[in-house]
Amino acid sequence: IKRFPPPRFQSLCRDLNSTVLVFVKGLFLYICFSYCVYFLLLRTVGGSNTVYEWSLSINHSEEEEPAKYPYQHIRQAEDVQQQIIRETFHLVSKRDDNVCNFLEGGSLIGGSDYKLIYRHYATLYFVFCVDSSESELGILDLIQVFVETLDKCFENVCELDLIFHMDKVHFILQEVVMGGMVLETNMNEIVGQVELQNRMEKSEGGFSAAPARAVSAVKNINLPEMPRNINIGDINIKVPSLSPF
């Protein structure tokens, strides 16, 4: 193991129960999950394409203070990713509900051409980071489409679905946004494709085989307390029964 998530971040997560942050922009796609904080980071078309390149450019701007990272000239992409998530979360979580959903881009997310556009659902934030080629209101609609798609695919989505099934969330997102560009905005089309793929997976015998399920069902008994009912905006989200696996 090379590094651990920064301590400040961990405590932050614990304090704020569950929070979804979807962080989207163009090309690069990043989903990040911490027990309760869920980030989706997607870089948009344009700019640098990967977090790796991104980290290079950020390093460049930090050259003035070499004392801070004296030995490590190129920081890991993962570090930058964590830093972005942390700062975005910090920015977004401070905001009231009755303020606008746009945040002008800071240096970390690529400069003034970029905007953070987010929606807040109960304890979850879905944050997209887009450049000026995207329509602000359009992206707000897209977030709504994404959340409704999640709701359909998970049958009443809740935070725990997102936390325990990050891979599935990713697969759904990949049908909406591909490599940072918007692929499909029609919800029925998205849901249809996701279902077809899931069916295919099932026909191959599924990913989690029966024995593993049995084991995890046993382990599941010790689950800590989970909140029973969470209302997420217009979506009614219920916590699944305790032995869903």
């Binding site: 359009g138 609609d141 325990f164 191959e204």
Partner: protein, 1244 residues
């Protein structure tokens, strides 16, 4: 084996899956790091097993850990394994992991090429889909190059699901591999009209993204997009198109005119706010682009502003925010229409959302005028009082100052009011902008002379009440204001009414708590005040006591500052203290000292423009470019560049050789520069002669009489602004009255002056408000030729730069399929089948033309429909003006298959000329608005398509130069002979002045390139530019310097240099030039003159030497005729020319050799009878090596290629035999360089 599998599946029972991992992490909040490290150990175990299901599970967990911020790059190979599973379930997991953790420097990506290709052609559409999705996240230049053909094939897949993904990923491919854009573009364009809306939307998405960065290349698509815009119902697509039009309109104003009507219709009809907003935005862009030409669009502006007002008034904060954002765009060009909504914007300042308040503030900045400045600032001041949170208050404060000070205080009519606002602002608690306020105070007091008396009075009050401000002593806190106050009071102390009081205030013990730099100013200015007091009271016997008391005061108080810990304060205080003590002695002897003390601070400070230094003329005879002393030899080697650097060992011989050349060039340069400068000075009317103009600029007279003499009630020190507003209003009234009087007078003395006519435009007009004071503004001091430096603000690393490719040019045969770089020959061999397939699939030009015709018909139809609505006359006009009847004939003449997009481009003109308003012939002729006019097109087409047009081209030249052809024939023959013989001789050493005394024979890297009876070309290949940080795509550049020498008696002009690009090496052409266009040599040659031009080539692969064929065409002009001539040549890029002389220290060198990365090779040269140092010099000079170390007859040398390959040589000599042992990390390159070294020595 079977047992192993069974064991594996039993083990699996106890494996954690992703859910278990997540749960585990949640249950181990206390020792999470430890828990995760055990998990990673488990995962490592799982990855070692053969069972792919176990591996996939492990990779899935790793993906999760990566998202938590753990580095998982060590598992990259396992991810590739999972990706290549035949089961979709696992493949999907593998690709997901890859898209999360792979990036360009992941080396296993190279291994995936074939796997991805297999997946792309899989019969299962979801295998293909997953591969495309994954690839979109980690595509590298190599992958893009190798897979571009496969992806292009997928764009025509039967399933729309695959088509849309393939279309979308093409954008990523273009970014990484720009060469693919031109071949792929026709198909991309087809997809705009795909029956599936998803595919269509993807194509729109990609083209919009491309066009956003390089809009001019996509103008020709405007008609197509226009059709889409009027037919599509998908809001997402509409928004994209409308945004694209917003980017295109600045380039083509006629497009804007055409757009306004449908856009306004959309604005009226749509219910979707997002669409409405984008329409308004684009209409604004159109209006901005039209604002110069067609002023009469007030209806559209009104509509936009109206709609924006609705948005701003909406309760939805998002709409409010966007409305303000768009409003600020209108403000730039149509400030008047926004200003009427001032009320609304001021309302937004009360909004609870900070981003909305900030937007509103931005708007206010542009809305102020002389008339409403005071009112707006008053409102803002109210907000400052109410604002919670210092950040927003600070923002307000800076905005107020920005608004007032913008464009040299343009809107301020009364500076007393402004000073009082500044003083008012000092009452803010906890602001960080004390420094800003202070600098404003200083600026105004210095530059507005008339205000000084008032400013001094206010500052004295501030100093007196300093205790109110000292609460916040942090840096940039409000106490910074005291700095300005003390300085102003001291400097302009003659305006002080009671200098004694102020002096006393400045020497209070509390001052010692202020920051050091402020104390220093206090001390210094106390001395100035002291001088003023002395002057005021000396001479009058009764007052001499006061003067002495003042001295005593200083002597009492200054010791406090002498003890200051701040060096500056201490120094100044002790100096002044001693001075005062001396003065006191003199005073006691009744000596008059006032005069002398005042002389300490004599002289007035004048404002100086920041660039004023530039204006100081260089005295005649002073040449700033001449060395004062001979440059030290060290700097010479710097200037000479790497060439001489490498020869440091041979300094004795070399220095003599290079020096004369250096100074010679320098003198020529200098003479030229001097001439240019003189010409510039002579031509520049603004070139300032000796007297400084700032004094003249300042007009004392205006308005000074109007300054109301204000009685300041010192007991109510800080709450003053209203009073000044009132006074200002009174002043304006009075002004008006004055003017009326003058007007009456004017009536009597008719026609005397036109200057006052402005006043007639009514009492409300802006100009009517004459400022009370003039700002001593120094803009006029700026030299006019100091143009704002037009920095190219484009990021040189912007990947979009490479995509600036002309797409209208027809595809040449060679471009019909994607170029496959010869970078990796083995891979090319592997895929010939696929390549062939692709070639077949690419639609042939004939098909396309059929399509074009169809499109044309369609357009004609729609045109006809439109025509019905228009007047008959206009129709006729258009028919005559358009190129349609002429154009087809011309294309037929030039090239048999009409190039695909030529009609497209002309159609754009035609389509645009359909616009209701334009004056047709003018618009068509305007070269700026239309890249090609009809006549120009015929000429351009054959150039851009040499392959197809080859047959026709010579004919054309024949016909054009028919008359002179006979005369030319003979010459041509000669030339051909010449060329054949010259082409072979490549590295022959020519040129260079032969100097007999030199022990070393002269060397030159200029080799004869080609020569005929007219012109001689010499090339130097030694010069390289290499961006060391750059990678393969943009860093590998070679500069070729060519000397052109005119050998005949005639004038040679219009030289055009062209090279047939190979896959590996390309001549870099300016933006917009096609790949077959020549480069124009930027000079002409009179008889006997030679000049040097440089051409940049980009090179992909440097391992092999290379020859490029090229042609130089030029016109020979004699007195009575001119002939067109051409000269063929071959450019030889040797491997040597890719080497850069790089110094290397011996320890680094030995480390390099020890590292074992280098492969060796050796060479023996027999019969070399040169001294050893000559030999080394030759290698250094011709092959760009540098000597690392030399011991007797043995030397180690080093060089580096432009792509970073290290090359080491060990040269030994014994009895005329030279043995060279060489090592390099690229054996191919090494072998070629050694061959070249051999050649060099065989030639001498």
């Amino acid at each position: 084996m079977a047992l192993k599998i069974v064991k594996g599946s039993i083990d699996r029972m106890f494996d954690k899956n992703l859910q278990d991992l997540v749960r585990g992490i949640r249950n181990h909040k206390e020792d999470e790091a430890k828990y995760i490290s055990t998990c990673i150990d488990e995962i490592k175990q799982e990855l070692k097993q053969d069972n792919i299901a176990v591996k996939a599970n492990a990779v899935c967990k790793l993906t999760y850990l990566q998202m938590l911020g753990y580095d998982v790059s060590w598992a990259a190979f396992n991810i590739v394994e999972v990706m290549s599973s035949s089961k979709f379930t696992y493949k999907r997991i593998g690709y997901l992991a890859a898209s999360q953790c792979f990036h360009e420097s992941t080396d296993v990506i190279m291994l995936t090429t074939n796997q991805i290709r297999k997946d792309l052609s899989s019969p299962n559409q979801y295998d293909t889909g997953v591969a495309l999705t994954g690839l979109s996240c980690f595509v590298t230049p190599d992958l893009a190059r190798d897979l571009a053909n496969d992806i292009m094939t997928l764009m025509s897949h039967t399933k729309p699901y695959i088509r849309k993904k393939a279309v979308l990923i093409m954008y990523k491919v273009f970014l990484k591999y720009p060469e693919s854009l031109r071949p792929a573009f026709p198909r991309l364009k087809e997809k705009l009209e795909d029956p599936d809306p998803g595919v269509q939307s993807a194509a729109v998405n990609v083209i919009c993204e491309l066009a956003r960065r390089n809009p001019k290349n996509y103008l020709s698509l405007a008609p197509l997009f226009f059709k889409l815009m009027t037919s599509s119902t998908n809001n997402w697509v509409l928004i994209k198109i409308i945004k694209l039009f917003g980017a295109l309109t600045p380039l083509e104003p006629r497009l804007g005119k055409k757009l306004i009507e449908p856009l306004t219709n959309l604005i009226h009809s749509t219910s979707a706010m997002s669409l409405l907003y984008e329409c308004v935005n684009t209409v604004i862009a159109v209006l901005i682009s039209l604002s110069s030409g067609m002023p009469n669009h007030s209806a559209s502006i009104q509509l936009c502003v109206q709609k924006l007002r609705i948005l701003i008034e909406d309760s939805d904060q998002n709409l409010k925010y966007l409305g303000l954002l768009a409003m600020s765009k209108i403000l730039k060009t149509h400030p008047k229409s926004v200003q009427s909504h001032k009320d609304l914007i001021l309302q937004c300042l009360d909004d609870k959302d900070e981003s909305i308040r900030l937007r509103a503030l931005d708007l206010l900045y542009g809305m102020v005028s002389k008339k409403n400045l005071m009112e707006i600032v008053k409102k803002l001041m109210l907000h400052v009082d109410k604002a919670e949170g210092t950040t927003y208050r600070d923002e307000l404060l800076t905005k107020i100052i920005d608004i007032c000070s913008q464009s040299n205080y343009q809107y301020i009519t009364n500076f007393e009011w402004y000073i009082s606002i500044l003083v008012e602002l000092t009452r803010l608690e906890g602001t960080r902008h004390g420094h800003l306020i202070a600098s404003q105070m200083l600026d105004v007091a210095i530059r507005v002379k008339a205000i000084r008396a008032f400013a001094v009075a206010q500052m004295a009050t501030l100093l007196d009440n300093a205790h109110l401000l000292t609460g916040n002593t942090q840096r940039n806190g409000i106490c910074e204001v005291l700095y300005a106050a003390a300085w102003i009071c001291g400097e302009f102390s003659e305006h002080l009414e009671e200098p004694m009081v102020t002096l006393e205030a400045m020497l209070r013990p509390k001052v010692a708590t202020l920051p050091g730099h402020i104390q220093a100013v206090y001390v210094q200015n106390a001395a100035k005040l002291f001088a003023t007091v002395l002057r005021g009271h000396e001479g009058v016997p009764a007052d001499s006591m006061v003067a002495q008391e003042t001295s005593q005061l200083l002597i009492d108080r200054l010791p406090l500052f002498v003890q200051s810990s701040n060096l500056e304060v201490q120094e100044r205080a002790s100096c002044i203290l001693q001075l005062v003590k001396y003065i006191q002695k003199l005073q006691q002897k009744d000596v008059e000292v006032a005069e002398e003390v005042t002389a300490l601070f004599a002289g007035e400070l004048n404002p100086v423009a920041p660039k004023a230094q530039k204006k100081v003329p260089v005295p005649e005879g002073l040449d700033l470019d001449v060395w004062i002393n001979e440059p030290p030899s060290g700097s010479e080697s710097e200037d000479e560049g790497r060439k001489s650097k490498g020869k440091a060992v041979f300094a004795k011989e070399e220095s003599r050789h290079t020096k004369p050349r250096y100074t010679e060039v320098d003198e020529k340069e200098l003479a030229k520069r001097r001439e240019v400068r003189k010409a510039e000075q002579a031509n520049n009317p603004f070139y300032i002669k000796a007297s400084p103009s700032s004094q003249k600029v300042y007009q004392d007279g205006v308005g000074v009489e109007h300054i109301p003499v204000v009685q300041i009630d010192l007991s109510v020190p800080l709450k003053v602004p209203d009073q000044y507003v009132k006074l200002e209003e009174e002043r304006r009234e009075r002004n008006k009255a004055d003017k009326k009087k003058k007007k009456d007078k004017k009536k009597r003395e008719k026609g005397e002056k036109g200057r006052r006519r402005r006043g007639d435009s009514g009492p409300e007009s802006e100009e009517d408000i004459t400022p009370a004071h003039m700002v001593d503004i120094v803009t006029e001091e700026m030299p006019e030729n100091a143009l704002p430096s037009d920095d190219d603000d484009k990021d040189p690393n912007d990947p979009h730069k490479a995509l600036n490719i002309d797409l209208d040019k027809p595809l040449a045969d060679s471009e019909k399929k994607l170029p496959v770089r010869s970078h990796r020959p083995d891979e090319v061999l592997k895929s010939p089948m696929e390549d062939r397939q692709v070639v077949e699939v690419v639609p042939e030009p004939k098909k396309k033309t059929g399509k074009e015709k169809k499109e044309k018909k369609d357009r004609k139809k729609s045109k006809e429909k439109k025509k019905k609505h228009k007047q008959e006359e206009e129709e006729d006009l258009m028919g005559a003006g358009s190129e349609e009847p002429v154009q087809p004939e011309e294309t037929k003449e030039v090239a048999a298959p009409p190039p695909a997009s030529t009609p497209e481009a002309s159609d754009l003109d035609f389509w645009l000329s359909n616009a209701p308003v334009p004056s047709n012939p003018q618009a068509a002729a305007a070269p700026a608005s239309t890249p090609r006019t009809a006549s120009g097109m015929a000429a351009v087409a054959p150039d851009s398509e040499p392959e197809e047009a080859k047959d026709t081209e010579p004919e054309e030249t024949k016909s054009s130069t028919h008359k002179k052809k006979k005369q030319k024939k003979e010459k041509k023959k000669k030339k051909h002979h010449h060329n054949h013989s010259d082409g072979a001789g490549d590295e022959s050493v020519q040129n260079g002045t032969v100097e007999e005394e030199e022990p070393l024979p002269p060397m030159s890297n200029y080799a004869l390139l080609a020569e005929n009876s007219y012109i001689k070309m010499m090339k130097q290949d030694a010069d390289k530019v290499c961006d060391i940080q750059g990678n393969l795509q943009d860093g590998s550049q070679v500069v070729v310097s060519v000397i052109f020498e005119n050998k005949c008696d005639s004038f040679i002009k219009s030289m055009e240099f062209n090279v047939l690009d190979s896959l590996n090496s390309k001549l870099q052409r300016p933006d917009g030039a096609g790949p077959h266009d020549g480069l124009i040599v930027p000079f002409q040659l009179p008889p006997g003159i030679s000049n040097e031009a440089r051409f940049i080539f980009s090179v992909q692969n440097i391992v092999m030497p290379q020859k490029l064929k090229g042609t130089l065409t030029f016109i020979v002009k004699t007195d009575d005729s001119s002939t067109h001539e051409k000269l063929d040549f071959k450019l030889h890029f040797t491997c040597t020319s890719y080497l850069i002389t790089t110094p290397c220290y011996s320890d680094a060198y030995s480390k390099l050799l020890e590292s074992g990365d280098l492969k060796g090779c050796s060479l023996k040269l027999e019969g070399v009878n040169q001294p050893f140092h000559h030999l080394l010099a030759r290698i250094c000079f011709h092959h760009h090596f540098s000597v690392v170390e030399r011991i007797d007859s043995c030397a180690s040398m080093y060089s580096r290629s432009i792509q970073g390959h290290h090359m080491c040589l060990l040269v030994k000599t014994a009895d005329q035999t030279v043995s060279i042992d060489a090592k390099c990390d690229e054996p191919g390159l090494l072998g070629n360089v050694l061959d070249e070294i051999k050649l060099t020595f065989s030639q001498c």
